[in-house]
């Protein structure tokens, strides 16, 4: 008797989380459209200077993401914990994270009041995302050399920047291939990398899974903010920036994926 009751409970819980996830994603989509069509034009009216417009939009997106994460938490879809959160609040830093799930950027920006962010270039042509990414002055993940210049300019301008050096979500169980753009941005702008390790258990919203394939239980997002990595010693120890970028990328990889390399397979 008890066993079947528990199964029924688990089934109802799962059904609830499928509905809740659907409602959350619909809300996210509506939010994106409202930001693009209503909030952005209104903010533009009261923000004559482009940099104040961008700052305000970045803050509004932070508030929306904070509300969204709170909503998913209230619906008992997710739990989250953040270690070293105060380090995220420092101005003008390069925040670098691994990318296990669809909502990593939402989780991160929900804790950072104002930041720029490198996001998928195709979002500029997505009806839900185009408004917010343009309004906040986010940077599209185009070809590396141009990307590095744009990121450098944003950091020079005093903004913070969130970037996922894998360039896309991780494939579970596969060793990530880090792009060296992030290391080059740090080396060329002289700004330390603040590494954030994101873990999601049980894993969900991974690459290639549809949104409604919810995990067996409420998932837990853990954000662990590490210690800043100063690029200066890498420039001192290596004869060229290119070699310094290789060494810095290797070290960043070791910080973001401390688990035994043997557990991961090489990408195909």
């Amino acid at each position: 008797m008890r066993g079947s009751r528990e199964r029924l409970g688990a089934g109802l819980n799962r059904a609830w989380r499928i509905i809740g996830t659907g409602v959350s994603f619909a809300l996210f989509g509506i939010g994106g459209i409202v930001i693009g069509l209503v909030i952005y034009p209104l903010t533009r009216l009261v923000s004559p200077r482009p940099d104040s417009l961008r700052r305000r939009m970045q803050y509004l997106i932070h508030l929306s993401f904070r509300g969204f994460v709170g909503f998913m938490n209230q619906l008992r879809l997710l739990r989250y914990s953040i270690h070293g959160e105060s380090k995220l609040l420092r101005p003008n830093q390069l925040i670098v994270a691994n990318h296990p799930t669809l909502i990593d950027v939402v989780m991160l920006i929900s804790r950072i009041p104002r930041t720029n962010c490198v996001v998928k270039a195709s979002h500029w042509h997505n009806p839900v995302m185009a408004g917010p990414v343009r309004a906040a002055g986010y940077i599209p993940n185009t070809e590396s050399a141009i990307l590095v210049e744009r990121c450098h300019a944003a950091l020079d301008d005093g903004q913070s920047l969130v970037i996922f050096p894998e360039g896309t979500r991780s494939t579970p169980g596969v060793r990530p291939k880090l792009q060296r753009g992030t290391a080059n941005i740090a080396l060329r702008s002289g700004i330390a990398i603040l590494p954030v390790r994101i873990r999601c258990t049980p894993s969900t919203l991974t690459k290639g899974l549809p949104w409604y394939s919810v995990p067996a239980r409420r998932f837990h997002m853990e954000l662990e903010v590490g210690e800043p990595i100063d690029p200066a010693p890498y420039l001192r120890d290596h004869p060229t920036v290119n070699r310094a970028a290789r060494a810095l990328t290797r070290d960043l990889e070791a910080v973001l994926w401390p688990e035994a390399k043997a557990d991961l397979v090489n990408p195909a």
Binding site: E143, S144, A145, V148, Q179, R180, G181, N184, P239, T240, V241, N242, R243, A245, R246
Partner: protein
């Protein structure tokens, strides 16, 4: 740096110095991006060094189509011949 062999050996020394690439893997057929792990940021710095070495201009557009080490050798040969 006249013959293609000279250009290739200069390139492999340059790749070792700039990018820590084993000179043995710098063959004509080697693909820059896939085999040698040279990215577009490295390519920009490579172009700067090639300009210094040859004293000639190189159009970034010309370098866009470069895929293999042989393509780089061709580009350098063209620079020297121009």
């Amino acid at each position: 740096m006249k013959s293609r062999e000279d250009i290739l050996s200069t390139l492999s020394a340059l790749f070792a110095e700039l990018f820590e690439i084993d000179p043995a893997s710098v063959t004509l057929e080697a693909k820059l991006y896939e085999d040698l792990d040279v990215d577009s940021i490295d390519a920009v710095d490579l172009v700067v060094r090639l300009k210094e070495l040859t004293g000639k201009k190189i159009e970034p557009e010309e370098f866009k189509s470069v895929r293999t080490v042989e393509d780089v050798v061709d580009a350098v040969e063209a620079m020297l011949g121009a």
